[in-house]
């Protein structure tokens, strides 16, 4: 912008007063740096930098915490100033201000240290586990109370089915009643016994969940059939027949159940004879059945490869297993499954309606003020809060439509509602309603981007309107439509507020898809990743225990949404390139 000094020629500049002309060569004009607005430019840039740093910081925070959650940490045994010992995983450190009474009780050097530090001391949070013994899984240990810290090699972190983790050492194990002392936590015999116990446990679960589940399902179906017959107030012979059939089926199913239950009982008895005897750092002994131990991690004695193995196996458990311990441990497979099922149903519901409406608005409706108003309204609906849709979904879909469906088709189950309460179907429909404006807007823009010349060319060749749309317009609009659908999918997968009202639960007893007709049960409640984050973070017994789980779930949800967004961009670019050349 600035120009170097000009060679002096007679110009209008000569009319400028002499004082201002007294400038040496090489001076740079203009003098007024304010015109360049450098300070303000830096403020603008700073705002952008702040925005980017915020978002990157969030992502890094989530990624860091989420990725590191499952990495096995060492177990430290801390001897405190009063001689007692605690054992646990160090989770995080924090600066804090000790209470005056605590400060009084300290030796003078420590107090001076804290004073020098403005009254702040450091403390570490240890995951001591053993909730059944201590009443708490975490414990803060201030630095001034620590005498020394060691990492004994035989300390073990045991993940169990109940009561969270156990931190301590393994004393012995029994197999079929025979006790064997344990010197090395990696003893082959112990590992073999553990594997056998877990296999038996898996078999028990298969029998109970699978086979007995089938029997129960049939029993319930028979009961409902009888109830349905009785509700219709039938003549006595029909009633007698129905009751006799029920009695017969019930007897048969009960016999099956007895057999299966006996088998399960036998396996249980076998399992009960395999136990593991543990000792926590304070000396107390705990006996657990070996099958209740999910994983044994010898925290202080692992090579990098072994740690990676534990890390990957924990990830696999997270993705494929069911939750335990009120959702703070175990896996989130039902939530992943529920999220996918709901998103899929939502897209199936929204795609035809969104595309059809956009087609109507753009191709078939007479363009005028009414349609312009409709278009504005549809745009606005994209901005309506999601909770309003949830309210509508609950009030209309669940309580009115669902209750009518219950009256008509499922009277024998009343007063327990089938469709008259939240479930997979209503949640998907609610979210479809939520995302329909997004799809309509995206499809309309895509349809508008198809040049008129192509349409006119097609019509000139003799095609009908529908043929034009189907063969010329829609394929060319496809990138935009796909983008719209994927964006709608990404938005729907992340919305939690409406789901809280229409069908998501903390713990779903069964998946919405199983082996019984009609295979997809649209009335069942389901679990959802986003709601899982809310639930584990805020409705757990101990939010400290839940935090790692929430981070990993957040990481998974973010990965999912980013994948969908990137997929949208890739598809858009690829299809754009495909049709780019053929425009005229």
């Amino acid at each position: 912008m600035a120009m170097d000094a000009l060679t002096p020629t007679r110009t209008a500049a000569d009319d400028i007063p002499a004082s201002r002309r007294q400038q040496k060569r090489g001076d740079i004009r203009p003098r007024d740096l304010r015109a360049e607005g450098e300070p303000w430019t830096w403020v603008l840039g700073g705002a952008l930098a702040l925005g980017i740093v915020m978002i990157l910081g969030l992502l890094v925070l989530v990624f860091w915490n989420g990725a590191l959650t499952f990495w096995p940490r060492p177990i430290e045994v801390v001897t405190l100033a009063d001689g007692s010992r605690i054992a646990g995983e160090p989770t995080r450190t924090q600066a804090f201000r000790p209470e005056p009474q605590v400060l009084e009780a300290l030796p003078p050097e420590r107090r001076a240290e804290i004073e020098a530090n403005d009254g702040f001391a450091a403390r570490t949070l240890y995951r001591t586990g053993n909730y059944d013994l201590y009443g708490d899984d975490f414990r803060w240990v201030p630095d001034f109370e620590r005498r020394f810290v060691e990492r004994p090699r035989e300390m073990v972190l045991l993940e169990r089915l109940e009561w969270g983790v156990f931190v301590g050492r393994i004393l012995a194990f029994t197999r079929a009643g025979e006790r064997t002392e344990v010197t090395n936590p990696r003893q082959a015999a112990l590992l073999e016994a553990h594997a056998a116990a877990r296999a038996r446990w898996a078999q028990i679960r298969r029998i109970e969940r699978g086979d007995i589940g089938v029997v129960n399902h049939h029993l319930e179906a028979e009961r409902l059939r009888l109830r349905g017959v009785l509700l219709r107030d039938p003549p006595p012979e029909e009633r007698a027949r129905a009751e006799e059939r029920f009695a017969r089926e019930e007897a048969r199913l009960k016999a099956e159940y007895e057999a299966l239950a006996a088998e399960a009982q036998r396996l249980r008895a076998e399992n009960a004879r395999d136990t593991i005897i543990l000792q926590e750092i304070g000396g107390r002994e705990v006996t657990l059945p070996l099958s209740a131990v999910v994983r044994m991690v010898v925290a202080n004695d692992m090579t990098l490869g072994q740690k990676a193995g534990v890390y990957l196996s924990r990830w696999w458990e997270f993705l494929s297993d069911e939750p335990r311990e009120a959702n703070t441990e175990g896996g989130i497979m039902p939530a992943i499954f529920g999220t996918f099922a709901m998103t899929l149903l939502m897209v199936i519901a929204v795609a035809p309606f969104g595309v059809v409406t956009a087609l109507y608005l753009r191709e078939y409706a007479r363009q005028g003020r009414v349609i312009a108003f409709v278009r504005i309204s549809v745009n606005n609906l994209a901005g309506v809060p999601s909770i309003v849709y949830g309210v509508f979904g609950l009030g209309f879909f669940a309580y009115i439509v669902g209750a009518s469906i219950d009256q008509l088709f499922f009277p024998e189950k009343l007063p327990n509602p089938t469709f008259g309460t939240g479930g997979l179907l209503w949640a998907s429909l609610t979210l479809a309603l939520l995302t329909v404006p997004v799809v309509i807007v995206a499809t309309e823009e895509a349809l508008a981007a198809v040049p008129r010349s192509m349409r006119e060319g097609s019509l000139a060749c003799g095609a009908s309107k529908w043929q034009t749309i189907r063969n010329i317009v829609l394929p060319r609009a496809l990138p935009g439509i796909m983008t719209g659908l994927i964006l709608a999918m990404a938005r729907g997968a992340g919305e939690v507020a409406p789901l809280m009202l229409v069908g998501v639960v903390k713990l779903a007893p069964e998946l919405p898809i199983d082996g019984f007709f009609p295979f997809i049960h649209l009335e069942r409640s389901f679990m959802h990743l986003g709601f899982h984050i809310y639930d584990v973070g805020f409705q757990s017994r101990n939010s400290e225990a839940g935090k790692p789980m929430v981070f990993v779930t957040t990481l998974l949800l973010l990965l999912l949404i980013f994948l969908m967004n990137i997929g949208a961009i890739v598809i858009r670019n690829r299809l754009k390139r495909k049709f780019q050349g053929s425009q005229f």
Partner: protein, 867 residues
């Protein structure tokens, strides 16, 4: 299809196949119907929400009226009552006679009566549920009794043969009524009465003229409290404890009495009232004065207060409690109807409490004869001597139903509101009975109670409150939308205060100053950020940020001002560099330097947080906010700093600008830049000084920001919510604003640059004004998103429905409230409909904001296309 006759080998078939036409027509029809259906469905949402909300305001409705004659009514009616299923109606006379009949048809029934042994009853009292009664006699004795209407469910076969059918639901055997209920069951309702032996209270021969009676204790050990006034105007408070002797299976009652301080001579006692805890006795006299006795100490009661409850010149016709015994209804003979609360803060009374008139209700057309309170809520019936029966609600101060007796004006002998508030029973002395079956589903909501201040029981004044549930049964839900709307507005305001500057400034930088290749990365990245689920943001805000911010609040506050200042300082330093270096480093390196500067500023804010806290907040910000540490000069100066900086900058521009330019405007670029730096330092110092000066003046005049914009610190507060909502809103505003700024035609930019303007001048004077409406639309859409944000507010805002602008306090927004309360609201109850109203309010708010933005955006597009 017939092929056309071909004349040559190359002739084409020009006739369209019918199938094509048919498919075309089907497609036409399907698409039209489908499109219209979806548009209609989307509009139906609002209609549905409105349809759920409307019943809140419909008041009361009479469903049917039954009138019949009942013979043999007692001469002096003491009480009328009915059972909760509206099957049996009863009238009890002062002489102990009980008359019962089938409520819907008037068929008389045989019911037990009270045998008073020939003694004349001079006083009568009952508990609010009309089951327990007491008679006071002319010989100074009292007798307690009970009349109950128990309902039992039986199977179909239990109906005795020969039962007479009354209507399609009920049958009777002359004594009990059998109603058919769904599920092939029968409900039997019958009347049971019990009378206890007499207790001597007043000296024998003195009649009891008024009494009140309450039951408490347990079923095995009932305690009765009652207060009596005898013919000598002596008031006695008595307690009767009954104990069952296990050996003899006899109830043994011990009665203890204590005398209340005497009334002034010549007082005509009209009503006596006692509370359930027996801690207060109210004596209403005929001339309108009320004497309130504090009887918390049973053995030493004292007169606490004397006050008038009806205007001078009017006489009191009755004093009644509403359920919960917090509201006192005072009725006068000119139709005055007032509600009094017993509140603290009374000066001049012996126990520090006083009766305050809370509601003045619409006047009854004539002198009020009787008042009947609801057993469930704050509704009550008032009947006057002209025969008007009005159904009122005390808290919402409205008259729900006005029922008049047809055929002449007579006072009613007894009125009652059925236990489920679904029927109104009125009995005339001649035995004419009128039953109105009414439906009043939502008596407590009016537009006034939802949006205005309401004086609830126990509060010392009208307030906006949202409190939908509490621990006791007698709790009255307080449903005002104002705290929730305020919460939404507060969250939006603070979120936008943070988000708008960051987003708009970043958008301006991206579209004007950022290199193209970086822009191609930054823009899609920000767009992806817009799809971040808000549940993630809420979780981070509540579980990570809130505890973090709590530890470093002063640093955060200081950083708000330090950040812009440090950028400006760095820019001034940057200008000192020689020009060739500047040109080489422009672009990516400058952006990198800006990042460095940001980190440096953040670090500096962290380091300077402690000294800042010491200077401004006296060393401990939490204590300072609570008010424990005095001295508001520092913080007021801090708040005024942006304004004073603006003032100083303007003055510096105009008044001093030319002077400073003349002094420093010559010489090399280095000199000019150094002079600019010095000038900036000087101006900033002047701004600080000005802010401190004005702050001292204001603080001297009594201004204190605490209690207004700042106050007591809560961990989950609006600062955290604003920051988290910034995450959600910034990408949206940024994307749309950036689009708007970018769509300004290139030739405008080129022309400006060609005229010699710098990039900065172009950006501020050409681009920004042209794109102004697009930018404004971006802000509106961001605002719409902030208003509707649910998860962040649920998780990070503390969920306290308070009306304070304090940024360190929590809030409860409409959206969060719906999400938290709707799953547990009873379908079609008042709370359910109120939550739908909240959703409707939210819908309307965002609809208006978005429509405005859309209209402005369209206008901008048209205008930009014209350029």
């Amino acid at each position: 299809m017939s092929a056309s006759a071909t004349a040559g080998p190359r002739r084409q078939n020009r006739i369209t196949r019918r199938s094509v036409l048919v498919i075309d027509r089907i497609a036409n029809w399907t698409i039209t119907v489908g499109g219209l259906l979806v548009i209609f469905a989307v509009g139906a949402i609002m209609v549905f929400l409105a349809s759920v909300v409307v019943p809140l305001f419909t008041g009361g409705r009479v469903e049917s009226v039954r009138q019949y004659q009942v013979t043999g009514l007692p001469a002096e009616v003491a009480m009328a009552t009915a059972d909760e299923y509206r099957t049996i109606g009863l009238v009890i006379g002062r002489d102990g006679a009980v008359q019962g009949w089938h409520l819907q048809t008037g068929t008389p029934l045989e019911v037990p009566h009270f045998d008073l042994g020939g003694v004349r009853a001079t006083a009568f009292a009952r508990t609010i549920n009309r089951s327990n009664l007491a008679f006071g006699f002319e010989n100074g004795t009292v007798r307690f009794g009970a009349v109950t209407l128990p309902a039992t469910t039986l199977s179909e076969e239990a109906v005795p043969a020969g039962a007479r059918r009354l209507d399609e639901r009920d049958a009777t055997d002359g004594r009990a009524v059998y109603s058919r209920i769904p599920g092939n069951h029968i409900r039997r309702v019958e009347v049971q009465a019990r009378l206890d032996p007499p207790q001597q209270i007043a000296p024998p021969g003195t009649a009891i003229i008024a009494m009140d009676y309450r039951r408490g204790g347990t079923a095995e050990r009932p305690t009765l409290s009652f207060v009596t006034a005898d013919a000598n105007n002596v008031l006695r408070l008595s307690r009767a404890e009954s104990r069952m002797n296990i050996m003899t299976r006899q109830m043994r009652t011990t009665v203890s009495s204590s005398e209340l301080p005497p009334l002034p001579p010549g007082t005509e006692i009209k009503t006596l009232l006692l509370t359930e805890q027996a801690d207060m006795v109210l004596v209403g006299t005929a001339d309108g004065t009320v004497f309130r006795y504090d009887t918390r100490d049973f053995n030493a009661p004292r007169l606490a207060e004397t006050t008038r409850v009806v205007p001078a010149g009017e006489r009191l016709t009755g004093l009644y409690f509403l359920i919960g015994e917090q509201s006192l209804v005072a009725a006068g003979d000119r139709g005055t109807m007032s509600i009094y609360f017993r509140l603290g803060g009374g000066s001049g009374t012996a126990d520090g409490l006083h009766l305050v008139r809370a509601h003045e209700m619409e006047r009854q057309p004539s002198a009020t004869a009787a008042v009947a309170a609801s057993q469930r809520g704050k509704m009550f019936l008032t009947a006057d001597v002209a025969g008007n029966v009005w159904l009122r609600h005390s808290t919402s101060n409205q008259v729900l139903l006005r029922l008049a007796k047809d055929g002449g004006a007579t006072a009613y002998a007894g009125i009652a509101l059925t236990p489920r508030d679904d029927g109104i029973l009125a009995v005339t002395p001649e035995g004419r009975v009128t039953l109105w079956n009414v439906s009043v589903p939502h008596p407590e909501t009016t537009l006034g109670t939802i949006f205005g201040r309401v004086w609830y029981e126990g509060y010392d004044g009208p307030r906006w409150t949202w409190q939908s549930s509490a621990g006791t049964d007698q709790f009255e839900p307080k449903l005002s939308l104002v705290p929730l709307i305020f919460g939404t507005v507060k969250a939006t305001v603070y979120a936008l205060l943070f988000a708008i500057p960051v987003a708009l400034l970043a958008a301006l930088y991206t579209s004007e100053f950022l290199h193209g290749s970086i822009r191609a990365v930054v823009k899609p990245a920000m767009e992806m950020m817009a799809s971040l689920p808000s549940v993630v943001l809420g979780f981070i805000a509540a579980l990570i940020l809130a505890p973090l911010v709590e530890d470093v609040v002063p640093a955060v506050i200081f950083g708000l001002v330090l950040l812009p200042l440090s950028f400006i300082a760095a820019a001034h330093l940057w200008q000192l560099l020689p020009r060739p270096v500047l040109l080489r480093l422009a672009g990516l390196s400058k952006l990198a330097l800006i990042f460095l500067c940001l980190f440096g500023a953040l670090w500096l804010a962290g380091v300077l947080g402690k000294p800042f806290e010491r200077i401004v907040f006296g060393g401990d910000i939490k204590a300072w906010l609570k008010g424990d540490i005095a001295g508001a000069v520092g913080f007021t100066a801090f708040l005024l700093f942006p304004a004073s900086a603006l003032v100083v900058a303007l003055l510096g521009q105009r008044a001093l600008g030319d002077l400073l330019d003349a002094m420093a405007g010559h010489g090399s670029r280095l000199r000019v830049a150094a002079a600019a730096l010095l000038r900036w330092v000087f101006l900033t110092a002047a701004a600080v000084a000005l802010a401190v000066g004005v702050a001292m003046v204001l603080t001297g005049a009594g201004f204190d920001p605490r209690g207004g914009v700042v106050g007591t610190y809560v961990q989950r507060n609006t600062l955290v919510v604003g920051f988290a909502m910034g995450f959600a809103v910034i990408p949206i505003i940024y994307t749309i604003a950036e689009d708007a700024l970018n769509s300004v035609p290139e030739h405008l930019r080129s022309a400006s640059l060609a005229c010699g303007a710098t990039a900065w001048q172009t950006a501020t004077r050409i681009i920004l004004p042209t794109a102004a409406s697009g930018v404004f639309a971006a802000v509106m859409i961001g605002m719409g998103r902030a208003v509707g944000e649910t998860m962040i507010v649920v998780m990070a805002a503390g969920n306290t429905p308070i009306l304070e602008w304090n940024i360190f306090n929590g809030l409860r927004a409409l959206s969060a409230n719906i999400a938290v309360e709707l799953p547990e609201a009873v379908r079609d109850g008042t709370l359910y409909r109120m939550l739908f109203l909240a959703a409707l309010t939210l819908f309307v708010m965002t609809f208006i904001v978005n429509t405005l933005a859309e209209v402005i955006r369209l206008r901008f597009r048209r205008r930009a296309a014209a350029l």
